[in-house]
């Protein structure tokens, strides 16, 4: 064992470290200067007219994924398919089936769902099975 504290192969280690730092920071410098402004959600006319979702907008924005997760269990496993708010409105607890479902009101998936999901780089697999309403363009 050598007594002096020293780094063997100092140059090789330095080059190796440099490559490592470059690789691990790849996402940062790859995306540099490409930051885009947060997208604005575009409500469908139908949603605008309804004025009110199943819960306040802020709550929906933060918790919609949790609600969907909870609802899918409630519908599939507990056979409870009707949601009623405290002020007496009822909704069909379904993502994509029928007038009174989520997509029955928010008929524009591209504007309502995809915009933010793409921006945030999340890819929920809802649409692998659920069928988005046809968008009239």
């Amino acid at each position: 064992m050598p007594n002096k504290k020293q780094i063997y192969d100092r140059d090789k280690v330095a080059i190796g470290l440099a490559i490592f730092v470059a690789l691990i920071s790849f996402p940062f410098w790859f995306n540099m200067g490409k930051a885009s402004p947060a997208p604005e959600i575009k409500l469908s006319d139908k949603a605008k007219a309804a004025k009110q979702c199943i819960a306040p907008t802020a709550y929906m924005r933060a918790e919609h994924m949790a609600i969907l997760d909870l609802w899918r269990d409630t519908v599939v496993r507990d056979a409870k398919r009707v949601y009623s708010t405290n002020d007496g409105l009822t909704f069909n607890m379904s993502l994509s089936t029928g007038e009174n479902s989520c997509m029955g009101c928010h008929v524009t998936k591209a504007d309502f769902c995809d915009k933010c999901h793409n921006y945030a780089s999340v890819r929920p697999y809802c649409w692998d099975c659920h069928i988005a309403p046809k968008e009239n363009k």
Partner: protein, 264 residues
């Protein structure tokens, strides 16, 4: 009742014998995982249109089924409604309800001198929604589970595609999505989700239609050859038919308690 308490006893004995002493933990787990945070407002319910029962059951009147046309209508109604893909490769086939000959529907019960009529009669087969379903026992995630009304359902969101349930089902009622089914659905019905590759599926006794107060699609299309109702209700159609007719069930010796009865 006897049946039930015996079953419960066996269950408990099994758990105790396993000696894991995890009862309190397993109780929480058995209720379907950690409790989830409820939505702060509003309430959920089954709705007032839904058809409910203590135990759903089906009777198949084989004589009335003898027409190819009727069988075809039942199968088509179901497969169209539930977005069942038509895959050419037989290995990847998906079916919820289909026809079999007697010797396949009831293996071991046929004999040489059986009447032509029965031998070649088309028998509709589907998930039996067993009272004591082996598939539910086998599933490691409760993706397949039994509802209180007896319907054995699939939770496609949860299925990990291990296919243990397919090995466990003694009726071959389950299909696996060996590939993405979407391109093979002839006419996509928006009212019912498709499936994704890698999950198991099977007949759901039209749980989504019962919720809207409608009979299962095959029953509606069967011209009265299929009877569907609550086995616990003495005045239901199924009970009336069972009282006055001899019926058979598939592989009754296995103790699964199939809830599809065949009137031969």
């Amino acid at each position: 009742m006897m049946e039930n308490s015996r079953r419960r006893f066996i269950k408990i004995a099994g758990i105790t014998a396993a000696g894991f002493g995890l009862k309190p933990v397993t109780d929480v787990l058995a209720s379907g995982g950690a409790p989830k945070k409820a939505s702060p407002i509003g309430d959920t319910s089954a709705g007032n249109k839904a058809l409910t029962a203590k135990r759903w059951a089906m009777i198949i009147d084989v004589k009335k089924m003898a027409h190819e046309e009727t069988i075809h209508q039942c199968v088509e109604a179901c497969h169209k409604l539930h977005n069942i893909p038509k895959l050419d490769n037989k290995r990847h086939e998906i079916k919820w309800i289909w026809e079999e000959e007697f010797k396949h529907a009831f293996p071991g019960q046929h004999h040489e001198h059986m009447s032509e009529e029965i031998q070649h009669a088309p028998f509709l087969v589907l998930c039996n929604h067993c009272e004591n379903p082996p598939c539910v026992r086998a599933c490691p995630t409760k993706a397949t589970f039994q509802r209180e009304d007896g319907i054995v359902l699939m939770d496609f969101h949860r299925c990990i595609g291990c296919r243990f349930c397919m090995a466990a089902c003694p009726y071959g009622s389950r299909s696996f999505n060996f590939r993405d089914p979407r391109p093979f659905i002839e006419e996509v019905q928006e009212k019912f989700p498709t499936r994704m590759k890698g999950v198991v599926e099977k007949c759901n006794f039209c749980a989504e239609r019962l919720a809207e107060g409608k009979q299962p699609a095959c029953v509606e299309a069967s011209n009265g050859a299929l009877i569907f109702g609550d086995l616990n209700d003495e005045n239901s159609d199924v009970r009336k038919v069972l009282k006055s007719n001899y019926v058979i069930r598939r592989k009754p010796g296995l103790g699964t308690g199939p809830q599809v009865y065949y009137m031969v």
